[in-house]
Symmetry: C3
Subunit: 130 residues, 3 copies
């Protein structure tokens, strides 16, 4: 088990950390299995998406913000971050990725992202291999 630290710098941001996951997988020496990443927060999520064009994460945050704005939807939760809680449940708290020959079976354009919806801050992600 590894505890990964991922740092965001804006209220909403998709932070790629594929390199860190690859490094820890190598360190583990495991050759085949599944790798589970789990975020221990309720206003951030995890997702797999394109890591080539930065407009893809930008468009994703833009669409989510359009659908679920921070203000104006009649939220009652007092911390002004109900939108972040909801986006976190929509993207999900974990990703599961298979690996073989010690390599993550990500597609050609896939990267692993922390979905920050109430940053910037340091977030904690648990990594477990099975």
């Amino acid at each position: 088990m590894y505890v990964l630290k991922v740092r965001s710098h804006s209220r909403e941001e998709l932070v790629e950390f594929t390199g860190l996951v690859r490094e820890k997988l190598k360190e583990s020496g495991q050759r085949e299995g599944i790798l589970v990443l789990y975020v221990q927060h309720t206003t951030a999520g995890l997702t797999i998406n394109e890591n080539a064009d930065p407009d893809v994460p930008r468009d994703m945050l833009h669409a989510l913000r359009t659908l679920i704005p921070q203000h104006g939807m009649g939220f009652r939760h007092g911390e002004e971050n109900s939108d972040a809680h909801i986006k976190s449940s929509l993207t999900g708290s974990s990703v599961t990725i298979p690996f073989q020959d010690g390599k993550l079976l990500l597609g050609q354009w896939q990267g692993i992202f922390l979905c920050e919806f109430d940053g910037g801050r340091e977030r904690q992600v648990i990594m477990m291999i099975r």
Copy 2:
């Protein structure tokens, strides 16, 4: 493997059942691994979110209902629960949570919720440890 029963009382409701999961994990005697919860229904989902302020689940159901109302979107499925099917795919049918030293590695504010979108009824959730 365990079969958990989770009971909802309204059409839409987030029902926390973290305590039941912890109890079964303890019963299993397992110390480290991943715990998979899987809901065997197509109009309910599972999610991890804040379990401190009841306004968080309330705001989540409110936002989902605003985006995908039961009526008025031009749905064709005859049972008047297309909205529930869609919300179930958006939240997801399973959650995967790592555990260590026999304890779920949930964050400080995280609880495990059944997302009921077409209740009230008793729902069945499979729990498997790996």
Copy 3:
């Protein structure tokens, strides 16, 4: 580990492939565990939903298209498929399903679907058993 090929024929389509997964699970000879399916693409997802009435997948694609249309949301990514990237993150890149006695523990109405958002094409899904 198995590499499954799933073919779509429209830009947006929910393609059921439960039968193929069952066949490979049988082939594996495994009796109990979890089965992970992982899609290696950034404009397609995976979901579990009803496989009885074709209006359910139809309504799901209709609602997602209403919320996140291909054009008109101010997307910047140049390939005219930002909507597909976003829908892929909302449905998710993997599903995890428990099995016992060699049988998938799907509910009575549940099927496994590739969510195609930028087809038609052949998509690759990794299947791993743990």
